[in-house]
């Protein structure tokens, strides 16, 4: 500070600003006359030109201290001299008059108010902080602050002042002014106003004769203290005069600094406005969720939940890949292959059935040929070309049936192994979450191997060298001959012969009593008129008999005592064009029969005697029966069979 004062005192142009500001001072005087408080601000506004001037030409370093030094010289003049100067030089006196008027109007304290505001910033903040520190206030009020204590008093502002002081060592005077600006920037208008209020409070102390003004002046600079001492030494001037002079000095400093202060105030105000607006914007952004506070985040999330519902629905559509999806996909592949194998197995079964039925048909044809011509030996049979070819066909079909058993078994084993592996893998998947040691990959390796193994290729399903399994024709002939013999051993009873005779004579009254049918009787019955044919006493039906019966033009055939039905019989029976067949004596309905049933044009079938044996389930037959129903047929079965059919379907 001392250096700064020295520099200031050595400035030759220290009085120039004071002279230049005199016209403005006049305006201030008028304004002060109107309002005792406003001039402070108005002066700042009106000194903008001076600030510009200072910035352009006049060194701003000629501020408070320099002006005070300049004023020191003026202060040495007493009031008497002032009066004289007024008389001699109105221009110079005008300033003094203004100062006097200000002093008189504001009675001194107004000058004190101006001190922290217009003089160096070093005193501005301590003054502001005085009310917070009673000790400091006491010191200020009661004791004079020693000159060596000034740096301590300014130490609180060291962070504001150190930087300018350092800069001032290397920079010219203009830079020092900039440092002053920097220091001034830290002073708020509010703080200044607070300082004004505080000084008003001190004003009363000052008026009662204390030397508070001197204390304040000592806080300003050593120069001002020296000035005060000089003023105190003056005999003709009272303390009020000293105050007036001090006020005059500070007023001059005020005038010189007013321009820079006002601009600083504008900058400070702008900064404050910017800060406030920044805080408001920040808070507003936080409120609207752009830049968030922590509390607003969940609200923003909760607000976005409702519009996010479509996204959730969309997210549900593509299912996230599950933990076991690849295993399940492999098992699905195995299941698909197993279904293919089962389908192939069904095809094989149907083919075998077809061959068996064909064999039965061929056997019937051979029997018919044997009846037409007396053939008792195999050699005679071979001479009959039809019998020979039929025998060869039977031989081949039997070989086919036998050969089909091999792929059928392969397909069956494959389907069973795949089922086992699938079940085992599913079991592994089921307990994988609760048990260790489950190697699902190992399961999948087994499944993969089975899938590769049981692909139903032609190579694996081929039937090779079926001729090696041919049954000798003679054996087949013998079998057919034995069947003929068995049939011949069941002679028609006398009663049945009589009834058959009646039927063939056109009397159909006792047809219900017929227990054994013959081809002749069947042929006669086919000529019967009527819609119903009740043959409930009949226990067996041969294919040729069925063939004749199928020619009957009636509507309903009742064969409720027939307990077995061969495929060959079924083949003819289900060619009948009637609509209703009662076969309630059947306890079983083999799947072979269903092939012919599917071709029947009738629509009602009674199978009330059909039983579902749990120990001997025939799911396939039930399935076909159910399938026939779905094709439009009406099936009459027991309730138990009905339930089982529904379960199968």
């Amino acid at each position: 500070m001392g250096k700064e004062s020295d520099k200031k005192s050595s400035n030759p142009s220290k009085l120039e600003p004071l002279e230049e500001l005199e016209p403005n001072q006049k305006e201030l005087m008028e304004l002060d006359a109107r309002d005792m408080i406003e001039p402070l601000a108005q002066k700042s506004d009106n000194t903008n030109d001076h600030q510009q001037h200072d910035e352009l030409g006049a060194p701003e370093g000629v501020t408070i201290a320099e002006q005070e030094i300049a004023l020191d010289e003026v202060a040495e003049i007493t009031f008497d001299e002032v009066d004289r100067q007024i008389a001699s030089d109105p221009g110079n006196v005008e300033t003094e008059v203004l100062l006097d008027q200000n002093d008189v109007q504001t009675s001194g304290p107004l000058d004190l108010d101006d001190v922290p505001e217009q003089e160096s910033n070093e005193t501005a903040i301590p003054l502001e902080e005085e009310p917070d520190d009673p000790q400091v206030e006491d010191e200020v009020v009661s004791d004079e602050i020693p000159s060596d204590e000034e740096p301590d008093a300014d130490s609180e502002l060291s962070e504001f002042e150190e930087q300018p002081a350092e800069d001032s060592q290397n920079l010219p005077t203009v830079d020092k002014d900039e440092n002053d600006f920097v220091t001034l920037d830290d002073v708020d208008d509010d703080k200044i106003d607070d300082g004004i209020d505080e000084k008003r409070a001190k004003e009363e102390i000052f008026v009662t004769g204390t030397e508070e003004n001197e204390d304040v002046g000592e806080n300003l600079s050593e120069t001002s203290k020296a000035e005060d001492k000089k003023l105190a030494d003056l005999n003709g001037a009272g303390k009020e005069e000293k105050n007036l002079k001090t006020t005059a000095k500070s007023q001059n400093g005020k005038i010189s600094n007013r321009g820079s202060l006002s601009s600083k105030k504008v900058v400070i105000a702008a900064l404050i406005v910017l800060m406030i607006s920044g805080i408001i914007i920040y808070a507003t952004l936080s409120l609207i969720g752009i830049k968030g506070k922590v509390e607003t985040v969940p609200e923003a999330k909760s607000q976005t939940r409702e519009p996010a519902e479509p996204a959730q629905i969309q997210a549900q559509m593509p299912k996230p890949p599950g933990k076991y999806d690849k295993y399940l996909a492999k098992l699905k592949e195995a299941e698909g292959l197993r279904n293919d194998l089962l389908q192939k197995k069904e095809e094989i079964y149907k083919l075998k059935l077809y061959y068996r039925n064909g064999i039965v048909e061929l056997t019937d044809q051979i029997s018919h040929e044997m009846q037409k011509a007396p053939i008792s030996s195999f050699a005679q049979a071979l001479k009959n070309k039809r019998i020979e070819l039929n025998l060869r066909t039977i031989q081949r079909r039997q070989a086919y049936i036998q050969e089909l058993e091999k792929p059928n078994q392969w397909v069956h084993n494959g389907s069973e192994e795949l089922l086992f592996l699938k079940r085992k893998a599913l079991l592994g998947l089921q307990i994988a979450e609760i048990a260790s040691g489950i190697d699902l990959d190992r399961h999948m390796r087994y499944v993969n191997a089975a899938i590769q193994k049981y692909q139903p290729s032609a190579e694996k399903l081929t039937v090779d060298n079926y001729t090696s399994n041919f049954t000798p024709l003679e054996t087949i002939w013998s079998q057919i001959q034995n069947q003929q013999v068995e049939k011949a051993q069941n002679p028609v009873s006398h009663k049945d012969e009589k009834i058959i005779a009646e039927i063939c004579s056109g009397d159909f009254k006792r047809i219900a009593e017929l227990s054994n049918m013959t081809a002749r009787a069947a042929k006669c019955l086919s000529q019967m008129n009527g819609s119903d044919l009740f043959l409930n006493g009949l226990k067996q039906l041969a294919p040729d008999e069925a063939k004749y019966l199928s020619q009957w033009p009636g509507n309903w055939i009742c064969l409720n005592s027939v307990n077995t039905l061969s495929p060959s019989v079924a083949r003819y029976l289900f060619k009948w064009e009637g609509s209703w067949i009662s076969l309630n004596g059947l306890t079983e309905f083999p799947p072979e029969l269903t092939l012919y049933l599917m071709e029947w044009k009738g629509n009602q079938l009674e199978l009330m005697g059909l039983n579902y044996h749990k120990k001997k389930p025939d799911q396939r037959a039930l399935k076909y029966l159910a399938l026939w129903e779905t094709m439009g047929g009406k099936l009459f079965v027991s309730e138990g069979v009905r339930k089982e059919m529904e379960r199968v379907m």
Binding site: H412, N413, E416, E417, L419, F420, R423, K424, L427, G428, Q430, I431, I434, A435, S436, G437, I438, K614, K615, K616, P617
Partner: protein, 192 residues
């Protein structure tokens, strides 16, 4: 006079401070025990909850496995009736019966392991309940008598917590170490 008063005041303050310290120490110890017991009770409750979940899961799985085994047994019975199989040797030649017997063998092994685990968890759950009850009782005692020896109980609780807490994150059993029954014995059980 002032010095005596100061001394007297100092000694009084010291005595009060000592009393406060001792009282606070006692209160602090009691508070520590209460807090520790409460913490242990919370841990017990949490572990019991975990064990209950594990138990529920194990029982659910066990039920599912038993149902599967029953279905497979029924299938074997049907195959046996349809194919007129009477002997075990003939039965194992039928793929469906043979495979089903192997699956039942696995299932029964898993069920047995689950049974062991269920029993173990039930024991743990009950033991934890017992210690919880004791902790509750001890808390009431502490509240009434201001102090009680709880270190032993806490050690016991810690022991059982240490035993059962890891089990909640472990698999219920090891499928590789499951004891498998003989398929012939299973067949005989089904037939008879």
């Amino acid at each position: 006079m002032g010095t005596d008063m100061m001394k007297h005041l100092k000694s009084t303050c010291t005595a009060i401070a000592m009393i406060c310290f001792l009282f606070c120490g006692t209160v602090s110890a009691t508070g520590y025990k209460t807090t520790e017991l409460n913490r242990k009770m919370t841990e017990i409750t949490s572990l019991q909850h975990s064990l209950s979940g594990k138990l529920e899961l194990a029982m659910e799985k066990k039920k599912q496995l038993e149902q599967k085994a029953e279905a497979l047994k029924e299938e074997i019975k049907q195959e046996k009736a349809q194919l007129h199989i009477e002997s075990y040797k003939k039965a194992v030649l039928t793929p469906r019966i043979d495979y089903n017997l192997k699956l039942i063998q696995l299932l029964l092994g898993y069920v047995a392991s689950l049974n062991e685990k269920i029993k173990y968890f039930q024991n743990g759950h009950e033991t934890l309940g017992y210690y919880f009850q004791q902790a509750q009782d001890d808390l009431l005692m502490i509240k009434t008598l201001n102090d009680l020896e709880v270190e032993k109980l806490i050690a016991q609780i810690n022991s059982i917590l240490d035993e059962y807490t890891p089990e909640t994150s472990k698999p219920l059993f090891d499928a590789d170490s499951v004891r498998l029954e003989d398929t012939k014995r299973i067949w005989n059980d089904i037939v008879n």
